[in-house]
């Protein structure tokens, strides 16, 4: 596409404006994302060498138990956590392989 760069220049400018108008939402969402990253990281680290239940994960990470379950459900949906065997009334969870074609979203957001 020949005029893609031109478009991009204009696009960048417009995007900047849009970011300014949505400043507050973006700031709030960004801080949530950062917190989420931290918490997800804590959960994954706790699972690095052991299979844990949700209450065990909560104890290991210091996060509220319902919050841990929320992350576990989410990470399970994206294949990053796998359900293991049951321990009493709880299931254990372990790390899984993130699906191919989905690079780890490590770099900071452009904001």
């Amino acid at each position: 596409m020949p005029d893609k760069t031109v478009e991009n220049e204009a696009g960048k400018e417009a995007l900047k404006k849009l970011r300014a108008t949505r400043k507050d939402q973006i700031a709030a969402a960004t801080s949530r994302v950062k917190e989420q990253r931290r918490e997800v990281k804590a959960i994954k680290e706790s699972l690095a060498d052991s299979e844990l239940t949700v209450p065990e994960l909560a104890a290991a990470t210091g996060l509220p138990v319902d919050q841990v379950l929320w992350y576990v459900a989410t990470l399970k949906k994206y294949g990053e956590i796998l359900e293991g065997p049951k321990a009493g009334s709880y299931f254990r969870y372990r790390l899984g392989q993130p699906p191919a074609g989905e690079p780890e979203a490590e770099q900071e957001s452009t904001n």
Partner: protein
Amino acid sequence: MGSRQNRRFDALVLGGGIAGLEAALNLAEQNFAVAVVEKDASIGGKMIRLSKVFPTLDCSSCITTPKMAAAAHHPNIALFTYCEMQTLERRGEDLVAGILQKSRYVDVEKCIGCRQCEYQCPVLVPDAEQGGFAARKAIYIPFSNAIPQKALIDTDNCILCGRCAKVCPTQAVNYFEQPEEFHLTAAAAVIATGFEAIPLEDKVQYGQGRIPNVITALQMERLLAPHGPYNRVLRPYDGMEPDSIAFIQCAGSRDQSLGVPYCSRVCCMYAIKEAMLLSGALPLADIAIYYMDIRAFGKGYEQFYQTAQAMGVNFVKGKAAYLDPGENGAVRVRYESQEATGGVQVAEHDLVVLSLGLVPAWDPQGRCLLSTGGDKFIKTVKPKTAPTLTDLEGVFVAGAAAGPKDIVDSIAEAGAAAMEASRYLSKQ
């Protein structure tokens, strides 16, 4: 205005749930051109969000998706999703609807539903489609069997990082999209705007949503659905597999103290259904239903109720008065056992499901001249011989928009509304 979307149809159907789709299909089959206006990003309504349906226990998705697909592919039906109907007025022979197309920030013509954007988005947002129990992304396809399979952006949570636009194979993401207003004109309309559950916050005695492991029946549907948030039934508080589950009936129905004096009609049956599904998913769990009257009135319903009793579901006569958090995520239920030796009892359950009362999802006030009844649902003027007739000429009503109704009755009414509408159209 003057948008390219301004179009003329024979009939408008407001609401793309099961009633709306059934009405639209019945009209389209008679060769009328139909526009379906749906406020959500997908058609399918409440039904597509359910696990299984009573009394046949078929998988809800398996019943709904064929109707959704039939409507989506029907040459006589145009779907307008993520659209609010803001006004509906009669102008002579015509009904004119003012429609607001909300911004998806994704060009539906280009989006191929591949979800690359969703995978790349770094923001986790509680997924209302999963009862809030898992996360979705800030750009997302509403749910797995949504129609259309098109993404949208939730700007409250988008950080405008640009990744979705970068990965989109069809350049469909458009952060600058603006909402658009346009008109649809038709001769007849069917209102099929359905219901919402009363907010969990309304009932002080039941904890206003603040007691862990007190959930709504619609959330339980997600826990039971094979494609639910946990893929199994777990307590949302800590992931425990519950051993004891209770259903609280009339949580906001038949309750003048909450301003909902009427019966919500479907709760008895869905609670029984969920109880049955639970006893399948968790064969060792104790399941109790606290109720005043079991209203199993439809075809096959009473037999369904009897089967649940035979399966060991414990039906407790008495309205639960008060819920309290117990030890370790348990919920304490206070009720009066009506037996002679009963009196006030407190039972502990691992998980408590509130069968919340149903209220209308749409209020015509300020949008069109349709009247509502004392219950705020759309008023019907000839409930016996023409049960779908409203007080606005050429406008008919179907399903839960005219009072709480189960799927079977909604479908029947949708057929009737389509019949009345087509009769009206052929008079014109």
